[in-house]
């Protein structure tokens, strides 16, 4: 049982407000991701939970016990850092055993050895005990760092962009490892990233941060399909966010009036995912012109110009067949069900 609650945390660094009255409840065994661009306060919140900073106001509670003033080394919370901070003077076994040896009066040599073995097996690095940091790849180093934190059997594990220093291929591999380790250890994971794809793939819930506040909190599908505001819509997945005027459940786009299922009236933002903008050759639809095009492997990404719309409209179409060339005139179609309207002020 490990629930973490932060309540009304505010933290300023000089004149910069890193966290602005942030409250968040994390459930037992949950995998929650703090997602946001750099400088949005997500790492500051993680460091406050770890105990590296004591917030200027607000509190951190763990299982209903206030731990705000408890120093980092006395919290049963462990952290994996952005860079794999292995101790350079110790080998893999020494690194993983580091935290256990500090408890050594309670743990025998035999127990320590066994738990190090278990932790290394958990991250699939059994047999690497005697390697030194410089003999490991980046992915292996980060797995040692993960084992070193997990060997303490923390009820809460904090991960501060642990994959951001790794190559894409290793990153994808490590995502799978993290999901498996989360299932097997039954610990609560609080994960910080600026990579929305990672957040969607890993999390039970995502808290999207903007300027020191939680902009939206929800499951990955909620965040993706029902973004609460234009910021979340743009940050999570790619979105077209277009200003529109709604009148009696319809709006004008180009020369067409489209239906939309909303209670809003007047000024609004239209949010539509690029893969929901369908490009047709001729006939029905909104006339548009292809202004840019890129091959993405799974399909083509287009940028379109529609008369009356200031920003480019992004569209994706599956691969196969010849793509529309730049400058060609096309027609686009958007289903009412794929349109989301947000308040515009």
């Amino acid at each position: 049982m490990s629930r973490i609650s932060v309540d009304g945390i505010t933290q300023n660094f000089g004149s910069v407000r890193a966290l602005d009255d942030v409250s968040l409840d994390v459930g037992d065994q949950e995998f929650i991701t703090l997602l946001g661009p750099s400088g949005c306060g997500k790492t500051t919140l993680l460091r406050a939970i770890a105990g590296f900073i004591r917030p200027q106001s607000g509190s951190v509670t763990m299982n209903s016990i206030d731990i705000t003033k408890k120093p980092a080394h006395r919290r049963s919370i462990n952290m994996v850092f952005q860079r794999p901070t292995l101790f350079p003077h110790l080998n893999v076994e020494g690194n993983v055993a580091f935290g256990l040896k500090l408890e050594s009066p309670r743990l025998s040599r035999q127990e320590i050895k066994q738990r190090v073995q278990e932790a290394l097996a958990l991250v699939r690095l059994d047999g690497y005990e005697n390697r030194r940091a410089h003999e490991l790849s980046g992915g292996q180093m980060q797995r040692v760092a993960l084992a070193r934190a997990l060997v303490k059997r923390p009820s809460v594990l904090l991960l501060d962009e642990p994959l951001s220093a790794l190559d894409l291929k290793i990153r994808l591999e490590m995502e799978g490892e993290l999901r498996r380790v989360h299932r097997e250890t039954k610990a609560t994971f609080i994960y910080v990233t600026h990579d929305q794809r990672e957040a969607l793939a890993l999390s039970d819930r995502i808290a999207v941060f903007e300027n020191g506040r939680i902009s939206q909190l929800g499951t990955p599908t909620e965040i993706y399909h029902q973004p609460a505001n234009p910021f979340v819509a743009r940050f999570v997945g790619d979105s077209n966010v277009i200003p529109i005027e709604i009148a009696s459940r319809s709006f004008m786009l180009g020369n067409q009036r489209l239906a939309i299922d909303t209670d809003l009236d007047g000024a609004a933002w239209l949010v539509v995912r690029p893969e929901k903008v369908r490009i047709l050759g001729a006939g029905v639809g909104i006339p548009a012109e292809v202004s840019d095009l890129a091959f993405r492997g799974t399909g083509f990404a287009y940028e379109l110009r529609i008369s009356g719309v200031d920003s480019v409209v992004k569209a994706e179409s599956p691969a196969g067949g010849e793509p529309w060339s730049i400058g060609s005139s096309v027609n686009v179609e958007i289903e009412p069900a794929d349109c989301l309207a947000l308040v515009r002020t």
């Binding site: 850092f81 952005q82 500090l102 303490k152």
Partner: protein
Amino acid sequence: MTDRIRSHGTGAITVGVLVFLYAPLMIVVLFSFHSTGGLSFPFQGFSLRWYEAVLGNTEFRRALANSTIVAFSTSLATLVIGMLASLGIAKMHGRLRSVIGAFFFVPLTLPGLFIGLSLLVWFSRIELPPSLTTVTFAHVIYVFPYFILILLAVLDRLDLTLEETAADLGANAWQVFWKVTFPQVWPIMIAASCLTFALSFDEFIITFFVIGSESTLPMYIWSQLRRTVNPTINVISTLLLATTMLLWVVAFVAVLRSERRRRYSISKGAFTP
């Protein structure tokens, strides 16, 4: 073509400078093994007789013992105080650090004559009679900035997230130091201690003011020179040179070792974000 010419030119200059730097030293070393007492060419043959004469001399042995005691006490005291001071300074930031740092580094710029004279006045004021103890005090003041400078340069390059990692794994401040910081900096501490030992072992001017009736090796050499130019001086100088060079080699090896370790820990691509 021009490159070739320039490299010949710079080569000749380099050799010239090296000869200028090392020839006097080599001559001293060479003549310490001279079979006759002569201090000029032609060289008459090798012998260890002057070494025997020096090593059999009780005055010399006493000066050597004094120098060793002073240099050892100085480097040990500097190691302890300097380690604590540099750890403290390394944790400071901004203006406080520059001010405190300046206070620690100023002795580096003071002339030895000034340090010696002011200490002489100070010791007599507090009625501390001149002895090897006052010499040790004076030497600690003299070598301290060098030690701090070296150690701070290393401490400032340490990865602070390593200390945070250790704290996160349950280490208190004391354990963080002994289990994480110290293992990374001890080779540099040895190197810096070799340097402070050598500085103290060779020191003359400050020692001259505060020593009283005792003698250290540099003092002994100087007192010998005042009487006559004696071949045993070559021997003592050579021994002094050998000791200092040995200390520098130890220091150099220690630094290399720590550098290699540091490079390993950050050269892996994945470490640099």
